[in-house]
């Protein structure tokens, strides 16, 4: 009876452990996976001209410290702008309501996140509030395009002039 019982307990432990691991992998790892339990904190929205590849689950940070996450990204068909819904953790309830939000990049190749710069107002953001001042994501391709467009127009003005003014241009 004794060995039979330890066998069943062992198997039970193994199966429980296995399913706990499976549960963790399927629910906790994918940011877009199943979510259990409502998040605490409050919601604010921000409208951007362009959010790049910001996704639901991306971090929201202030001074480099994570204070919440992006809950949803949607599109406002009236003014053709992207609406990001941010969920801010409840302990950060003293963010001035004239703060600005900008889409930034973690490192050179990292994911996008929203950085919030504090404003100077005495009233604070509340649940359902909106951040008015926003700055869009910098799209690397458009920067590169702009750079090459400048370069090309400069080149067409004349090769001799370009080489002559090249050093003074760099000096600026």
């Amino acid at each position: 009876m004794k060995p039979q019982r330890s066998l069943e307990v062992g198997t039970g432990l193994f199966v429980l452990l296995g399913f706990a691991a499976l549960f963790f992998l399927t629910t906790q790892l994918p940011g877009s996976g199943l979510q259990f339990g409502a998040d605490s904190g409050y919601r604010v929205t921000a409208k951007f001209d362009n959010i790049g590849d910001l996704k639901a689950g991306s971090p929201v940070s202030m001074a480099g410290v994570r204070i919440g996450r992006v809950e949803a990204v949607s599109f406002d068909a009236n003014d053709y702008r992207a609406v990001a819904t941010l969920r801010i953790d409840p302990q950060f309830d003293r963010i001035p309501d004239d703060s600005d939000a900008s889409v930034q990049t973690q490192g050179l190749l990292g994911g996008k996140y929203i950085g919030i710069g504090p404003g100077g107002s005495d009233t604070f953001l509340k649940d359902g509030g909106q951040i008015e001042f926003t700055q869009s994501a910098i799209v690397l391709e458009s920067l590169v395009n702009k750079f090459f467009a400048n370069f090309a127009s400069k080149g067409s003005e004349g090769a001799a002039e370009a080489t002559a003014s090249g050093s003074s241009e760099e000096g600026k």
Binding site: L7, E8, G10, T11, L13, F14, V15, L17, G18, F19, A21, L22, F24, L25, T26, Q28, L29, P30, G31, S32, G33, L34, K55, G57, S58, P59, R66, R69, Q106, G107, L108, L109, G110, G111
Partner: protein
């Protein structure tokens, strides 16, 4: 002479068909299956967790070394999670499973064959496929995805241990980038792979044991073949499944 390998593949196919027919009746006696889940799963737990930890730690070191060159060591969590979930977890677990559980299945069934226990069952009109082979096959099949999940979890812990604790990757970036990059599809891919490996490794192990030559040397040979064939088959199936998942 040329036909021998083809005939062997055909025998595995026929064996699988007969085995699947007996799996239903075998499930009606869950105690035997539970016993085999214990043998194949719970007894492999220590080696799986130990290997998972070291594989994760190596991933942490190598991944950090590579990502550091691009200044994006924050992506270490993504690299470790995807590497473990999609490839290393299922494959390494299947290879360990073949060595740890597959060999014991083969030698156990082969020894039953060599000592005429299976023949005795057949004489008593007890189907050895139903009472001996099917529970062992099912036990391996059930144990494999659970072992892979545990392997992945311990591996992630190992990668986190090296990356965050030792090399100073920001823990928030490690987990949040992992969570934003890993999709549910990636987890499902790992589970599908582990199920396929479970079928392949368990089937080869019981087939080789059941068809072992009933001598001491025959059982030894069958055990060796289990490890070799299971390992090769695991890597082959892994390539095909990866190609299929990437091609979707």
């Amino acid at each position: 002479m040329m036909l021998a390998p083809v005939q062997r593949i055909g025998r595995v196919g026929v064996f699988l068909g007969r085995l699947l027919l007996q799996c239903g009746p075998a499930l009606l006696r869950p105690r035997a299956v539970v016993h085999q889940v214990f043998n194949a799963g719970a007894r492999s737990l220590i080696i799986i967790m130990l290997c998972g930890l070291f594989v994760g730690m190596v991933l942490g070191l190598q991944g950090f070394d590579l990502l550091q060159r691009f200044g994006s060591e924050d992506a270490l969590g993504v690299a470790a999670a995807l590497g473990l979930l999609k490839e290393l977890g299922p494959v390494v677990t299947a290879l360990l499973f073949a060595g740890r559980a597959g060999t014991s299945l083969t030698s156990e069934i082969g020894l039953m064959r060599a000592t005429d226990q299976l023949t005795a069952m057949e004489i008593m009109a007890v189907d050895p496929l139903r009472h001996v082979v099917a529970p062992r096959f099912l036990g391996g099949l059930i144990a494999m995805p659970l072992l892979v999940a545990i392997f992945n979890l311990v591996g992630l812990f190992g990668a986190q241990l090296i990356g965050v604790q030792l090399l100073g990757v920001d823990p928030g970036a490690f987990w949040s980038q992992m969570q934003s990059a890993v999709e549910l599809d990636d987890v499902v891919e790992g589970i599908v792979k582990s199920l396929c490996f479970g079928v392949a490794c368990s089937l080869i192990a019981v087939f080789e044991g059941y068809n072992a030559e009933p001598t001491a040397a025959g059982v030894g040979l069958a055990t060796t073949r289990t490890v070799v064939i299971s390992s090769v088959l695991t890597l082959l199936i892994d390539y095909m499944l990866t190609a299929a998942f990437l091609g979707r």
